[in-house]
Symmetry: none
Subunit: 414 residues, 2 copies
């Protein structure tokens, strides 16, 4: 079943509003085994006609958002009626609803809003409890060659409930009884790049039929998604698990911070943080997780040398001899943070986020990471991420959270 999405809205193309519709539809349709084959954004106005003309012959379903409002550039309703050769008729029930909504809100009714009560012959009205313009469903019409058309409001708070309550059930009916949803599995993988992952896996998975691979690489993490028939996905999953046992953070789309907070919660353990170059982002990321207060009680942002010495007890001589960005300093930071806090694990980082502050020996992008845990030797290692300042911070946060995950799970850190 070929499905496309057409978003109308000049503001989307001017960059005033980020288009979140495609992502929302994509997530929801995936659960029905459907994919968006194409998504198009056009300005308000007459372009809707040419885009629909192009899409009609190749589509089974088109979801259109926007262009149903009261202003002069909202013409989706009129254009569709004309393309299908249908009359627009005044729907008294919609008109009454619009007038009541204006009355309740104490607004003056105007004639422009009445346009929203015009409905093409044969359309199913999709009620909109969150706005004035209802949605419209026009079933496929072979006589004019039109696919199933859903005309939906643009604002997300109107669109989402309508999609969930009225469009999804209609799509399931269109798909027909017994339609089989595809199997899928997502692996969130750390410590392996997208191309290394692909070059290891693709030869191993090439013999499995009815399997599709998808990659999504972000800073420090790669999502590998397997989609296809149930047996194929299971066979491929077994191979992925065998090859990347230690690198798989989770077999879902759970974030690394949720994984780490979950592991700590299960064990009744806590972590404390001592941050230099990440400037508090490790603590902030951990505390993005609801309920993290159980496993995180305090963190230190020690940006200056003095703060490292006073708050974490890093000997001034160590900083003087090796520098603030060094294995010795980060070990002392981690050990001092564990000592000062009641936590079971302490994370410490010291590095050069850049763009300034680097040297030949320690260029911008250099970072030392320390992990201290009760009753174990302090781990420390140097890493290098020569990227922009913000990406560097995010990358280091994911690195240390993965190191902590490994420490908790008993996987070697190195």
């Amino acid at each position: 079943m070929r499905l496309e999405v057409v978003n109308t809205g000049t503001e989307l193309l001017l960059g005033k509003v980020i288009n979140t519709h495609a992502a929302y539809f994509g997530q929801e349709l995936f659960k029905l085994g459907l994919r968006i084959q194409r998504q198009t954004t056009i300005p308000d106005g007459i372009d809707i006609r040419s885009v629909l003309s192009e899409a009609f012959p190749r589509c089974d379903v088109i979801l259109v958002t926007g262009g149903l409002g009261p202003t002069s550039d909202d013409i989706t309703r009129e254009v569709v009626a004309e393309m299908l050769g249908r009359e627009l008729q005044l729907d008294e029930a919609i008109l009454a609803t619009i007038r009541e909504m204006f009355r309740v809100r104490g607004l003056r009714q105007n004639l422009l809003n009445d346009r929203q009560a015009m409905v093409p012959e044969g359309a199913v009205v999709l009620e909109n409890p969150h706005g004035t313009a209802p949605g419209l469903y026009l079933p496929a019409d072979e006589t004019v060659g039109s696919p199933h058309l859903f005309l939906l409001p643009g604002p997300p708070r109107e669109l989402k409930p309508m999609f969930r309550d009225l469009v999804q059930p209609a799509l399931i009916r269109i798909l027909g009884e017994g339609a089989e949803l595809p199997a899928w599995r997502n692996f969130r993988i750390y410590g392996v790049g997208e191309s290394a992952l692909a070059s290891t896996l693709e030869p191993l998975l090439s013999g499995i039929e009815s399997l599709e691979l998808g990659y999504c690489a972000r800073l420090g993490e790669v999502d590998l998604r397997l989609i296809g028939e149930g047996d194929s996905v299971e066979a491929a999953s077994a191979i992925v698990r065998r090859e990347f046992a230690d690198q798989i953070v989770v077999e879902s789309e759970t974030s690394i911070e949720e994984v780490v907070v979950g592991l700590l919660t299960d064990r009744g353990e806590a972590v404390a943080t001592a941050e230099s170059c990440t400037g508090g982002l490790i603590a902030s990321t951990i505390t993005d997780v609801p309920g993290s207060s159980v496993v995180f009680h305090r963190g230190y942002v020690t940006y200056s040398n003095e703060a490292k010495s006073i708050l974490l007890g890093v000997p001034e001589e160590v900083i003087a001899a090796h520098g603030a960005v060094s294995e010795e300093t980060v070990k002392a930071m981690a050990a001092g943070c564990l000592e000062a806090s009641d936590a079971d694990h302490a994370i410490a980082v010291s590095g050069i986020a850049g763009p300034g502050g680097g040297s030949e020996e320690k260029p911008a992008g250099t970072v030392y990471v320390g992990i201290a845990s009760r009753g174990r030797e302090v781990f420390a290692k140097r890493y290098f991420y020569p990227v922009d300042r913000i990406s560097f911070k995010q990358r280091v946060v994911r690195l240390v959270l993965d190191l902590l995950r490994r420490r908790i799970r008993g996987i070697p850190l190195d």
Copy 2:
């Protein structure tokens, strides 16, 4: 000049990643007087051919993102070369750059990455300092009927610098000598909502000709953009300045954290942070600014009551009597943070980020903020942002940075 954007990426259509490219391009192109006439998202793979075939005859410029990576579904480069009838040639300079990047990062080079060094004849290579795949510019070619084509990387941190540094100048050249760019000015405004801003300004600005207003509201800040003829923008700017003198953070797109770090640097002052519900995000946001180490030396993340008492000297009785989320506690946190540090200003926050932890008296979204400065009384106030946990944190960070801006500039905080 007709310009379209084509985004490739299965993850965009599966809803794993929100497409921010259209909004980014829209904003940046607007400054050149250009608008996106159509934006299309397609999956990775072969669809790029049909979309480009359809778009070639109607476009002067097409910006394509994604599909330049190392994996088997990245085929933009190959498809475009074939459509234009060009050979792909190995670019030794790109290959050397890729190999060097792998070497520096200690990664093993693999053959898949070498594909990224293949370049269609006649293409201008657009360097990518933030990733392995360079961008490509293929000037319009009348013999095959192709418009100007820009093939750009998908990840925003690679795309944005490339667009700014290499694509925009090329577009200006395409527009031609003497093309007149519109005048524009951006006001970044805090503490006023979008609709309040509009209802104050629009009557005052309605008499000015050749002026277009754009609003972009984000959590805790509104950008007001004036675009049009030079005199009109100047006249309107004078009115905006008069009406919102205290609320204008900056007349540019500079972030509030850059503004605050700049103000502190100019005055030779420093700020320290004591964070509960924001969990380190204030410190992290300040330290996103290069050079912030001059004005930020330390921060405390005191998530537990014990940490508030031990690290900031908040009396246990104060917490017991008023609660951790209270004006009294946040005042003691701010005063304690200033006392413990060598800073001139201290920011403290304590609140309930939610979704759990609220009460009838202090529901989730409640936050107390304290600002302590040397020689001045501690300011503290209650605010309420009943939004999701992550948005709450971001909203509070912007609030406190604006309060600090006002304190430094001598503008009343209340």
